[in-house]
């Protein structure tokens, strides 16, 4: 009696697991907003995720079915002795070669994505003459994101210029905190620094993550292809306020981005003087 119970038990739990996975999108338990990523690389990451999920599901169902099968058979075995087998050379070969092939496939298939994501540009950047869309320097600190934009309208044409800008404050720089504005449909370059301990710049909707290492200035690049506001969180334990580092990445059309930056600059340059006869301007960040 109890044998049937336990066989059912070990068969039922994988089924429950699969059902829970299947309803995940419908219950909004999956990717944020149940949507695809907002960057092309992010979409490729999602594709890769689903590919691996498919392979893993097949493996899961296969092994769990085999486990259930052998359990049921073994629990019903009425022979005096069990099958006296020390193994099967052929089976060993099969189930070494096949998984090895599948794993190697997974390994090689995603090399390309990684190469595009980090390696290719890392290796090429000094020789690359294209204009660099440096958007901001983000300094993660305990417990907020301090952002510095180059003066609105600045165009960088070489990494030398970028490095020079990164090295020290420049006149015209626009400062912000916790809300990062990035252009839509244009490659964005962010330099990530840390003001104190390790943090990590994580934007789930964009599938972007990079640790901020103290003493290093790390470049992150991505292209946002969906307008909107995306949550920014910290993904490396940085102290008691690790969970408080709530930020936002807002993707805007290039023109609108420039006008927002100019607006920020104006607010930043506010001197509090209202010429008599005019309404007092607000010196506050309202958006």
């Amino acid at each position: 009696m109890s044998r049937i119970f336990w066989c059912l038990f070990f068969t039922a739990w994988p089924i429950v697991a699969i059902v829970v996975c299947a309803i995940t999108p419908a219950m909004d338990w999956g990717f944020p907003g149940n949507r695809e990523a907002a960057t092309p690389l992010g979409q490729r990451i999602d594709d890769l995720f689903y590919l691996i999920l498919g392979i893993v599901t097949v493996a899961f169902i296969g092994t769990m079915a085999a486990l259930s099968y052998v359990l049921i058979k073994a629990s019903k075995n009425k022979d005096e002795k069990a099958w006296f087998s020390h193994g099967s050379h052929n089976l060993e070969v099969i189930w070494t070669i096949v998984p090895a092939g599948v794993l190697l496939f997974i390994a090689l298939y995603q090399l390309d994505v990684w190469a595009i994501y980090r390696v290719r540009d890392y290796e090429n950047r000094d020789a690359d003459p294209r204009p660099l869309h440096l958007v901001a320097e983000v300094t993660a600190r305990q417990f907020e994101w301090r952002i510095r934009y180059p003066a609105p309208g600045t165009r960088f044409t070489s990494y030398e210029q970028v490095k020079d800008w990164l090295a020290k404050p420049h006149a015209g720089d626009v400062y912000a905190v916790n809300r990062l504005l990035v252009p839509l449909n244009r490659e964005t370059l962010i330099y990530l620094k840390s003001g104190d301990v390790q943090h990590s710049f994580f934007v789930p909707d964009l599938r972007v993550k990079q640790d901020a290492m103290p003493g290093q200035s790390i470049d992150i690049w991505f292209t946002v292809n969906r307008a909107g506001t995306f949550d920014l969180t910290c993904a490396e334990l940085c102290g008691w306020g690790h969970y408080k580092m709530r930020g936002e990445v807002e993707a805007l059309e290039v023109k609108e981005l420039e006008s927002r930056l100019r607006e920020l600059k104006q607010l930043q340059d506010y001197d509090g003087f209202t010429p008599p006869g005019t309404a007092a301007a607000s010196g506050e960040v309202t958006r």
């Binding site: 006149a171 905190v177 936002e248 001197d271 509090g272 209202t274 506050e284």
Partner: protein, 502 residues
Amino acid sequence: MISRRLILPLLALLPLGFGCADYRAEFVNDERVAQLDTSSPVAADNVRNSLLEHFGTPNDLVAWGALPIDYGEITGTVLSAPDAHTLRVSLDTDPTEQFSQVAVVLGDATPAHRTAAHYDATTHTLTLDPLHSTAPTAPTAPTAPGTPIRLIGHKLQAGRKAFMRHCMHCHGVTGDGNGPTARYISNHRLNPQPRDFRRGLFKFTSTKDGYYANREDLRRTVRQGLAGTYMPSFLLMKSKELDAIIEYVRFLAMRGEIERRLLAHLKDLLPDDDGTPPGDLKTLEKELAVDGFAEALADATALVAENWTNAEDPQNGVLPTMARLPDTPQSRLKGRNLFISTKINCAKCHGEGGRGNGGFLDDFQKNPETQQSYDTPGLRDAWHNIIRPRNLTSGIYRGGRRPLDVFRRVSVGIKATPMAGFATNVLEEDRWHIVNYVLSIPVDGAFFDEYGQQYHGRVRLFETHKHKHDDHDHDHDGHDHNKPEPSTTTTPSESQDKKSQP
């Protein structure tokens, strides 16, 4: 004889016994109240009870009409009273948030107070809580249809809830800057310490000298954070939540202030340092704690209310009467000269290079309350914490980096710190020159050579400072540091005095 079979279930219940104590957050009284207890329990009780009566506890707050706090009020009319604990009402604004336990004021002529336990928006039913009614209830609370009804306190409650979630762990349940995070067991404490609200003093304000912070100042601090400190930016917090927190912070500040003023009124009743109670205890007690107490409370309340109200008046804000002067090299040079001038002498604290390492740091300041020198040299704020003058080369401005903010710092200083304001003795246009200079330091460096050219960045790593009030034995090289030099090779005696500081 316990049956063996019971051992297991008893074991399982053990954890339940452990952990189910019902802890409630409580406001902490100033330590002097406990001291007062030893000499005059009557006085201490009066203080405690009046605070309890007018402010309540964190879970049972009191909305005291005498204070300029927006507790959140919803007006409406009674439609019917199905039974003693239920009212059907029509409210003028739909409460968008859950609330419970708010004060209910019924009627105009003789208002009666009850406490509402729950409001059901679908049936427009208000459930009155019979058990927790702490305020006096009129024998017959007017509940006839058409009676005006006011629900008071939902904003304060929302503020308390949000404060406990986001702020309490640093600022403390009572707003005393002594939350668990502020006092964590470690070799180091937070630097700077979280604000103790109970003095009603806030450093970065837009108001004139002697005036309090207004709501906009507090909002700004919470929204932008204080760069370079552990006060983070809550930029993305919803406005409603933010406003509720601000009201609660003001509530805590006013509570602390009234407590402080009551203790000042009763200071003659405090035991002295070795615990002996004052001489004529009985007479003093009668005079201060019994007869004169109510008046002292009323005076304190009125003063506190007035201060906080005045802060909101735009007339009391600091705003320039002229636009910022153009940010030219000449303006900055003028600013630089004012910076190092003996009249204004910013360099005394901020240092020749603006690195926050001026000579004044070596002096012993006086504790304004006891008129004794502090044990260690250095500048102190009103809470007796050691503070350092800002390193102006870093580009981090706690009170904001707008020209207006720096202008305010130069004009009225930073309240509760030795940073003085120069509005009274420095012309506005000179102050703008200083602002231009200060804002240029992180970008272009602090020094000008004799041609008026600025140096970039760190010219000198080690600086000796001129001690005007020099009592110490230091090796000085006799340089005249008012005149900047193009380059220095430091001699060993100079490098000894390094106070290289951010």
